[in-house]
């Protein structure tokens, strides 16, 4: 018995790829890893570069003429940016909480074996996975029928539930929660609500984290809903703001508090190029800092999803 581990580790060592191949693979992965991180570095360095330098020589991968003007400008004039940040945060928080609730309740319900409407609801969840009404019809339902045009709910509601997430939840509840647990709660006289909220949810943290993270990053990164439904600049999220800055760098100035100076003056003095990238940094930095810590939850989610439900 004691021999097995040493044998195993010995075998592993013996079975390794040769050092040459290892070095080659390592080199390939280092290059690819750099290629994947470069964009964030570029955006950061442009946001930190002096505006006149950009005007003369263009963008560069590494910051050359350092300046924090863009951030100072944002801090000083950025009512629009602050509002966009607020919208983004609000949509992300409310959307994630609502989405998690809607997803887990449905997932739980269709995971209960004895439930009478189980098959019906499973079809309700399944059909949209293969067939959907398409963009045009959804657009008209959402704007004309539900009245979501220029409403913050247009950014939240359409993204709240995805059948894929419901299936992940259902698979999780089905495979990890023993039937005896719900049965005993039932015998003790607990209602299904009580069972779900005070027994099932607390022991389902892994799947809550997974779904919550998917939703959270989805809401934070969404720009398409804004593009479709939001015309009112006051309801722009950070993504929508960056989107409009990409087509028109002056957009910021139009909404800034001009402190005694004219619009033309404001446009002339604002650091357009670097301000644009500074907004991008406001979007990217939280994501880039947060996701490595949550990566394992994503992997859990991806692999739960990959198992047939």
């Amino acid at each position: 018995m004691a021999k097995t581990p040493t044998y195993q580790s010995g075998l592993e060592k013996f079975n390794r790829t040769s050092n040459g191949i290892n070095a080659l693979f390592t080199l390939i992965f280092i290059l690819m890893a750099i290629a994947c991180v470069v964009p964030v570095i570029v955006v950061l360095s442009i946001s930190l570069t002096d505006e006149s330098y950009i005007r003369e020589t263009g963008y560069s991968i590494l910051p050359t003429a350092l300046s924090a003007d863009a951030y100072a400008y944002i801090a000083k004039q950025g009512t629009m940016i602050l509002r966009a940040l607020g919208v983004s945060l609000l949509v992300t928080v409310v959307g994630t909480v609502l989405g998690v609730l809607l997803t887990t309740t449905m997932g739980y319900v269709i995971s209960r074996p004895g439930y009478k409407l189980k098959n019906f609801l499973t079809w309700v969840v399944f059909i949209p996975m293969v067939f959907n009404g398409g963009l045009v019809s959804s657009y008209f339902i959402n704007t004309n029928f539900l009245g979501l045009k220029n409403s913050v709910w247009a950014l939240i509601l359409p993204l709240a539930v995805s059948s894929f997430n419901v299936i992940i939840c259902k698979t999780f509840f089905r495979s990890t929660i023993p039937d005896g647990l719900t049965e005993s709660a039932e015998i003790d006289g607990a209602s299904q609500f009580r069972t779900f909220f005070s027994i099932i949810l607390p022991i389902s943290l892994p799947v809550l984290a997974t779904i919550g993270l998917f939703l959270c990053f989805g809401y934070w990164n969404d720009w398409f809903q804004s593009m479709l439904y939001i015309d009112n600049q006051n309801l722009y999220s950070l993504q929508a703001l960056l989107n409009s800055l990409m087509s028109n760098a002056d957009a910021l100035a139009r909404n800034s508090i001009s402190m005694g100076i004219s619009f033309a003056e404001l446009v002339a003095t604002m650091p357009k190029e670097s301000a644009r990238m500074a907004v991008a940094i406001l979007i990217v930095l939280p994501v880039a800092c947060a996701y490595p810590f949550f990566q394992r939850y994503f992997i859990t989610g991806l692999t739960i999803g990959a198992v047939k439900g």
Binding site: Q8, L11, F14, N15, T17, N22, F25, T26, F29, I30, M32, A35, C36, P39, V43, I54, T57, G58, Y59, S60, I61, L102, T105, V109, K116, L117, V124, I127, V130, F131, N132, G133, G134, L135, V136, S137, S138, I141, N142, N144, F145, L146, L157, A160, V161, V166, S191, Q192, F193, W223, F224, Q239, M246, A280, V284, V287, A288, L302, T303, A306
Partner: protein, 316 residues
């Protein structure tokens, strides 16, 4: 005796317990969500067969607008661009499906063979990053590289003594750029899915193989790849089912909707969005209708074919 049994059976079937009501109540909000945001749009698709006017109330609009049969579809398929758009949509998707399976599988196997576990974790994390960037941000990054007067690529070309290229006006480069960006954004995600499966493979298979004298290549060929088959097939069905859908952000945002790139970057999604925005609702809804119908047919037939070949690998 038998009637009694039958009666008790049928009573058991229709017996609705208290907890059924409670569970239904628990599912009700999500059910309402599904009705409003998934099933209503399905019925809303009738506007593809109508001469739809945008004014006032949606339901009265749908009821009052006149039936035009397949006229919208006729316009769609008679337009000169129908062929270009179909070619772009399916062509890019075929390339994305092939590369999107071959490359992540290859790199997942390669990264699993690295000696250092720690280094492999670091590479994985770094390669997962583009997956979390929104297309708006990617489009900003693209602008930093491809912009005519300030772009990094043109500065690089200048330093080599070449002329600057006006990237957003030159369609010949964009198929490569779009394919590169798609792979770049999704490779970390694909790699992690396959890697999770590889690390889950029972190590005794490999031990037995080593004792039989199998080389690393043989182990990959006869153990790793067969074990990955299920996941590969599943990813394949999922992506084939979406063959008439494209990533709108990639084709619209990253190209900055440049008119010169129309022939290489317009896909069904871009067409639908543009027509929706220019209020050519008839054609847009016809295009969206065709898209969902074909999407549904492809996902079901891909699953059916896989089921015929290997019933365990099918999804549905």
């Amino acid at each position: 005796m038998s009637t009694k049994l039958e009666r008790s059976k049928s009573r058991k079937r229709i017996h609705w317990r208290k907890q059924d009501s409670e569970l239904t109540l628990l599912a009700l909000p999500t059910l309402i969500w599904y009705i409003l945001f998934s099933f209503l749009p399905m019925f809303g698709m009738v506007i593809a067969f109508k001469n739809f006017k945008i004014s006032g109330n949606f339901i009265s609009n749908v009821l009052n607008s006149s039936w035009v049969g397949f006229k919208n579809f006729e316009f769609l398929f008679k337009s000169n661009d129908a062929w270009i758009i179909l070619r772009n949509t399916i062509g890019y998707n075929i390339i994305f499906i092939i590369l999107g399976i071959v490359l992540p599988v290859m790199f997942a196997i390669m990264i699993s063979l690295l000696h250092s576990r720690k280094a492999s974790k670091v590479y994985q994390t770094m390669m997962f990053l583009p997956y979390f960037l929104s297309w708006v941000v990617v489009s900003a990054v693209g602008w930093a590289f491809f912009s005519f007067d300030k772009g990094i690529l043109n500065q690089f070309l200048a330093s080599l003594g070449h002329d600057a290229v006006n990237w957003y006006m030159e369609p010949q480069y964009w198929p490569y750029i779009l394919i590169f960006l798609n792979i770049w954004k999704s490779i970390g995600y694909g790699m992690i899915i396959y890697l999770a499966t590889i690390t889950g493979i029972d190590s005794t298979y490999y031990e037995a193989a080593v004792i039989d004298g199998a080389s690393i290549w043989q182990q990959t060929r006869f153990i790793t790849l067969p074990m990955l088959k299920l996941v590969i097939v599943m990813m394949f069905i999922l992506s084939v089912g979406r063959i008439f859908y494209t990533d709108f952000g990639l084709f619209y945002q990253v190209t900055r909707d440049s008119n010169s790139l129309y022939n290489v970057a317009t896909t069904v999604d871009v067409l639908v969005y543009k027509q929706l925005k220019t209020a050519t609702v008839g054609m847009a809804s016809a295009a969206a209708f065709v898209q969902s119908m074909l999407g549904c047919i492809t996902i079901l037939s891909a699953n059916w074919i896989v089921k015929k070949i290997d019933s365990d690998s099918a999804m549905i």
